[in-house]
Structure formats: structure tokens, C-alpha cells
Symmetry: C2
Subunit: 231 residues, 2 copies
């Protein structure tokens, strides 16, 4: 009996979903979404739709697992349709957190600590900047990245390294400040230097190697790398 | 003779242009641009085009006074056409400043300290975030604001007040941090509170008065207000 219980627990653990795709109500690239879904076909992840993003998912015939937010942006017929098809609705009415943050808090509470966010920008600029603040708030609590048609954006406070394509753009920014930055594989290398909002930007760099290494001693860096549809 | 010289100097001063519209190579709303040009018809301001933005201006049949940048994005035929029609071209090749910053540096050097920027965002997200860093770098040196179809964005480190429309959205963000914020006329008032990137956002506020007042004791605030096409 004990053995059976252990097996059950193991089975549950094996099937526990720790990845999610949060779809926000900014610009949602249909092509990007299709590539993501195709690449991840067969693997376990949950789609979490932030309020009004559900309208676009409905149009694209994509069914999220959860819809989260104060539900003031989702069209009533879309809400009814998703309720009827078994989507779990979490209405959270409070003003202190925006819809993206509500989705992240929910995903972490469900053990989904590997988070990809699309639709985080492209419409209202205040929302976009706000969402970067939320990225900074959560990047130490979970693995979180923003993706759009071209870029994958994430934050680091120690180091990162990844394969890349020579000649392609990479941008890095102190967010708000990073000291002791050392890079390898970039056209304009940083050698124990600082980047800070309002003082010095590190955008518009370029890979001169197929391997990029970036490290810093203090503070935090935003990294904008091309994703080449490999996610 | 001395009197004549004085008159000449006075005339020059009277005609000195201290305002400019910098057009960057992000999303440029044709409607916004037309409204701006119509509203400012007859008043003195210079249009400064940042490199590739010139292609859009050419399409819209708008002639800038200056084109500035490393000129790697402007189409050759557009460049030729603008050169032939008397536009002043300033080719600046260096990597430490992006095209927006080159335009701002140039405009300040020409005494144009009242700067409006359009096309600052909407395309590449790294450029957009970079441009906010530049806004922060220059807002104490000149009057500078970003405008898009809906919003006017500017920074303060003391206080601001402006007429508004009840019910309309306003967002404010510590950039990266602001302390001792006091607001009047907002639905979610701040009473000697702090906002900071990665800790607490102040987006999604709303006017409950036709007069808004915002002040802070320390740090810097980004203000996102609707412009209602009054610029």
C-alpha cells in the first residue's frame, strides 16, 4: 500500500505542470503564438490569459487553461464561451496589482515557476513600462521572460551565457543600475563597466561570436536578445 | 549705428527658434503628426528627423529642417531628395549615443531647449526602453516630452500641475524611485508615499478632478498623461 502511494505521488509529481505561458492584453503576434504552440506541442504547460487577452485567444481559437483579472476587458460572449468550454476563471478585483502581476502571483501559487509572457507591450506605453517593473519584481522568485516577435527579454543579477548568431543585435541595460559588467562575444565589449538608466545605455550592441557571456558584480541588468524562434 | 545693431540683435532674438519636434524611427502616427503640424502652423519650430524617420516624413510629404544620425537607415533616394530640397544633413557616426540622443544634443547646441519627441517607441522594445533612459538623462537640461497617439510622457523631480479630464487615466512611475509623493485629484491618492521600479508601480490611476497636482520630495517620477491633442 505504501508502495502504491509512493507511486501515485511520483506520478503526480511527474505530471505536475511547472511551465506556463501568460498572454497579456498588449500586442499579441499571431505568428509568434503559433510558433510557440507548435514548438511546445506535446509538452506540459498551461496557458494563462490576462483578462482582455482572452478576446484575441478566442478569435485565434486558442483555449487557455485559466483566465485571470478583474474581467473588465473580456467580452461577455467570450467569457461565456470559455466558461462553457471548461476554462477556469479567477476573478481578482483589486487595484494594487495589474493583470500581469495577478497572473504571475497565481502561477507561482500553482507551482508554475517557469513563466513566459507574451503580449506584454505594444499598446499602451504606461502598461509596457509597468510590466518591466513587474519583471524586475519577480525575476528572482521564478524563471520569467518576456517574448515578442523578435526579442526575448529577461533580467540577471549575476551572469548568463547563451549561444547566438554572429552579427545579430543584443541590447543590455542597467535596470536601474549594474556595476562591474564584463561581456564576452560583443562588438562593443564592457570591461568591468557600469550601465545605468539616465546615465549610460548599452543598447545597440552586436554579437561577434556564436557564444555570448555577460556577468556583473552588483545591481541588475535587462537583457534583450533575439530568440530566433527557439523557445 | 549702435541703435541699428541693437535692433538687429533684437530681431534675431525675436526670431530665434527655441522649439523643435524630433521625429524618431519608431511608430510615427500620421494622424498625430498632422494634428501637431496643424496646431503649430504659423509658430516657429524646427523638425529634426532622426535618420530612418526621414523615410516616413518623405512618404508623408513633410520636409524636416535637419536630418541627424549615422544615416544607415535613410533610403538613398530619400536622402538625395531631401538634400536637393535644402534640408540640412548632419551625419554623426559614433556608437556611444543613439539617434534620439544625437538629435537632442544637436537641438540643445542650437538653443532649441523646448523639445517634443514623436516616434520614440512602438517598434523595437530595446530602443523604447533606451529612449526612456535618454529622457531621464536630459529632462533637467531642457524641456522634453515624448508624445504618442494618446499619451504625453515627461519626468519631474519636484512638482507638476495641469488641467485634466475627470475619469481619464494617468500613470505615474518612480524612475527608478520617488519618495514623498503627494497627489491631488487622483482616484488612488498618494499621501507621502514611494514608488519604485521593481517594488511598487503607480500605473492605472484615474483623475477625479479637472485639476491634477503631483509633487515629490526625493527621486524622479515619470508621468504618463493623456494629451487630448492639445500641444
Amino acid at each position: 500500500m505504501q508502495q502504491l502511494c509512493c507511486l501515485k505521488v511520483k506520478k503526480l509529481k511527474r505530471h505536475k505542470i511547472n511551465r506556463c505561458l501568460i498572454v497579456c492584453d498588449g500586442y499579441i503576434g499571431k505568428r509568434l503564438l503559433n510558433i510557440y504552440l507548435k514548438k511546445n506541442e506535446g509538452s506540459s504547460f498551461a496557458i494563462i490569459s490576462a483578462d482582455g487577452a482572452s478576446n484575441v485567444l478566442h478569435l485565434l481559437n486558442i483555449k487557455p487553461r485559466y483566465i485571470i483579472g478583474d474581467l473588465d476587458s473580456i467580452f461577455p460572449d467570450v467569457l461565456s464561451s470559455f466558461i462553457n468550454s471548461g476554462v477556469s476563471i479567477k476573478r481578482i478585483i483589486e487595484q494594487e496589482h495589474n493583470d500581469l502581476e495577478k497572473c504571475i502571483m497565481f502561477s507561482i501559487s500553482k507551482g508554475m515557476n517557469d513563466i513566459t509572457v507574451i503580449g506584454y507591450g505594444g499598446n499602451r506605453i504606461d502598461h509596457t513600462i509597468n510590466n518591466f517593473s513587474i519583471l524586475k519584481k519577480y525575476y528572482k522568485k521564478c524563471s520569467i521572460r518576456f517574448i515578442d516577435d523578435e526579442f526575448e527579454v529577461f533580467m540577471i543579477n549575476k551572469k548568463t551565457e547563451f549561444d547566438y548568431k554572429r552579427g545579430e543585435i543584443i541590447s543590455i541595460m542597467g535596470f536601474p543600475k549594474a556595476d562591474g559588467i564584463v561581456t564576452e562575444g560583443l562588438q562593443y565589449p564592457l570591461k568591468n563597466e557600469s550601465l545605468e538608466i539616465g546615465k549610460r545605455e548599452g543598447a545597440l550592441n552586436r554579437a561577434i561570436s556564436d557564444k555570448i557571456k555577460i556577468s556583473l558584480k552588483k545591481g541588475e541588468l535587462l537583457i534583450f536578445k533575439k530568440h530566433f524562434n527557439t523557445f
